[in-house]
């Protein structure tokens, strides 16, 4: 998701570099947490007749991951397109505290 972190500043400080790396890891980690939440809701019925994943659930989870990545690519492309259309301004979306 590196499009989020294109900084134009010449020499980032140590703290800025750490913060950027941290943000990048957090982005991936957030995405994983959302994936777990979304895909278990889609694929695991709330009955729990057995503790193991059955065949149908397993296949559903695999496909859900695949589709979730595809959706992420589509959405991020679209957002980049929008940001570019606003001529390269900071990606701000509906942000309230735009500088």
């Amino acid at each position: 998701m590196s499009f989020l972190f294109n900084s134009n500043r010449p020499q980032p400080s140590s703290q800025e570099k750490i913060a950027a790396a941290e943000a990048e890891i957090e982005m991936v980690s957030n995405m994983f947490n959302q994936l777990v939440d979304t895909c278990t809701k889609k694929c695991i019925p709330p009955t729990y007749r057995e503790g193991d994943l059955n065949k149908g659930e397993s296949v559903c989870l695999d496909r859900c991951v695949s589709k979730f990545f595809e959706v992420n690519v589509k959405v991020s492309e679209k957002m980049q397109g929008e940001a570019a259309a606003k001529q390269g301004g900071a990606v701000g979306g509906g942000g309230m505290f735009g500088s």
Partner: protein, 94 residues
Amino acid sequence: MSQMDALNRQEQMELQGRMERKQMKDFMNMYSNLVQRCFTDCVSDFTSKSLQSKEEGCVMRCVDKFLKSSERLGERFQEQNAAMAQQGGMGGGR
């Protein structure tokens, strides 16, 4: 914001740094909520591993609509917030 007036130059810079980090975090949250919402509403067929064109269209329109909603809500929010501040009510005015 009522208390921001009282900050000196250096304090304002520190605050601004924190706000930039917060803004990035907010953007990431907005982004992942958007993905989760549009995925949940548009993708329900797990008989294949690639996105159907019908699903893709739905996701694109969902993103579009969500961004427009957020923008409109942001405008209304700021109007209300400003009106409130003038009345000296909740929300604390600049």
